[in-house]
Symmetry: C2
Subunit: 213 residues, 2 copies
Amino acid sequence: MTQLLRVQNFTMSRDGVAAGVDQSFESPFGLDHSTLMSWCGATASWPNRTEPGGTRGLDDYFARDFSNNIGAEIMGRNKFGPQRGPWENLEWEGWWGDEPPFHTPVFVLTHHERPTITLSDTTFHFIDAEPSEVLARAKAAADGRDVRLGGGVTSIREFLDADLVDTMHIAVAPIDLAPGLTLWESPEELNDRFEHEVVPSASGIVHHLFWRK
Amino acid sequence: MTQLLRVQNFTMSRDGVAAGVDQSFESPFGLDHSTLMSWCGATASWPNRTEPGGTRGLDDYFARDFSNNIGAEIMGRNKFGPQRGPWENLEWEGWWGDEPPFHTPVFVLTHHERPTITLSDTTFHFIDAEPSEVLARAKAAADGRDVRLGGGVTSIREFLDADLVDTMHIAVAPIDLAPGLTLWESPEELNDRFEHEVVPSASGIVHHLFWRK
């Protein structure tokens, strides 16, 4: 069975912004990320849901596919935390507390390696390597399942540039957020390499699905 | 975690037909079912796929959700085989050969019980009981996961009438097949009890998603 590298539920604004320019401890995404991700929070399958209820329409299929057949994640250092440069605070163990929502090995891209962290059933490895080598390590750790490329923008662009991404689900929210970090100027940039379907949802989200030609 | 009863990938024609009137060994669905299910066969995640390739757009999400968090299936006897009345041929063990695509316990609704059959990781139990009792047994066997209601038409109607169905995904194919067995005259019949989203796919299939209000 082929192991894929998949981008899942990566959400941006209508004007292409997926992260703000000023990430900090107080503002993990450098912008109001709760508005951007509210489509996912409304679904029954939202991993952080604590109350019963939630929608079970189209958006819920995407929400619950987040972990379907995923055996490892690759994420950028800026998704893991707000520190830059050499680690000054090794007590920082990510945004997610004692029960991170990944439940697999996670490979954090960084030029500053540090010891592996295990929190419940998630293990964070810190790795300074080329995308192809990181992907090889993540696939080996994924126990035959696929690897999720968790973002942010910079990491996804890096793996796209290396032509290592197999499928992408990008959710476009009906809000404007510029200025910020953008994944593309237009999704058509990818059409030379990827099949591309556009699926509007009743929630106002437009789901863009890409897979290799 | 709530265990749901889910109808998944149940496909009918534009004029509402999901099975023909003359099921037989030669014609398991009593009509040209390959045409009806070709949307699913075109996807990368189609369980019977033997060649690489296949689409990874919207239809593929539905194809691969077929077994996502499913721990048991309930099916009507007419899905299991073409015999009617008392079993005259106990050598019949379903359409699917030594490796059925269910990989869970399966509860076959019948007025004529017979011994359990185990084929690879699928176990067929034959049960003569009310829908609520069958569902209770399937949930107990599902190890905390959801139960798929696999059809056919008569079984789905029976569980809808008993108000036991939590979610339904009905795929409507752009072909006409009447006469035959129909699930509904119009999907609006269900709108008093269910939320209902209609999602057209690039393949020509229209996906109808229902979940309890």
